[in-house]
Symmetry: C2
Subunit: 162 residues, 2 copies
């Protein structure tokens, strides 16, 4: 199993949007350019973020994407669920009901211990992701990104945001 690659893209994009001036927006084309990603496919992911309400979108010249709320109020889990969907990774197919020892489905009132264990682990995963805000991500990024790259980025922003 591999996590959707778009998750990495989306978190990076949100992190960039978080460091934008208040009234600025970046179109998909620009974000794709910044990270050297396939433009149209990234656009799909950005639309998913939009549908999840994490970003606001504006059409037309000067339009694009911006965060819909402060980065401190967006968690990494929000972004992950927006891209990956909210379905649990572990899907129960009820094999306990089948085969020669299976009995009437009505006898199984709740998910078995296996499913519950898997879902508990998934909850631990989500809880951890929910404990990290986009603001923390960007703060860490600011601290750890090589200063040369920060300079280059700022210059690029300057050009792109007119």
């Amino acid at each position: 199993m591999k996590l959707n690659e778009g998750i990495e893209w989306a978190i990076h994009c949100c992190s960039i949007l978080a460091s934008l001036p208040e009234d600025a927006a970046l179109p998909a084309r620009r974000l794709a350019e910044f990270f050297d990603l396939p433009e149209h496919y990234l656009a799909k992911h950005l639309q998913a973020l939009s549908q999840a309400g994490l970003v606001n979108s504006a059409k037309g010249p000067g339009g694009g994407y911006r965060l819909s709320r402060p980065a401190a109020n967006i968690t990494v889990l929000d972004i992950v669920l927006a891209i990956d969907g909210t379905e649990p990774h572990f899907q129960c197919t009820e094999i306990r009901r089948k085969g020669p020892s299976g009995v009437d489905p009505a006898c199984y009132s709740k998910p078995c211990g296996i499913a519950r264990a898997m879902w508990r682990a998934e909850k631990a995963w989500r809880d951890e992701l929910a404990s990290i805000s986009l603001k923390e991500i960007t703060d860490i990024g600011m601290q750890e990104t090589p200063s040369l790259q920060i300079e280059k980025s700022m210059e690029w922003f300057g050009n792109v945001l007119k």
Copy 2:
């Protein structure tokens, strides 16, 4: 993203093996029959369990699979990693290095905050799975499985183990 369906199969199979008499073994064919699963594909997963050292296998008549150690010493994580592989779900593709602001790769000494956050969440997931032993799974199963199904299973075991 969806977890490998074989994970559910494998945990169920291990649970069955855990409740077998000390010297008994079940061949893949029988396990597939018990859960109404595709025989050859299940066999692949069982071989993975074997390679991971969780079960011992014996060829020839009377052969098959049995647990390699007490169920209390096998965790759900052991089984999950045996089937799903040990690679982290989140794969870092280093997009921060690309695009117009990327700098010399040598400048990036360690994974960025995003990757670290994703991996921390994955660790929480694994820790939770590691905290549950196969014995706990089977104990819960024994308590919660409808008594009629337990009876049917016992009868089936009796016939199959000769």
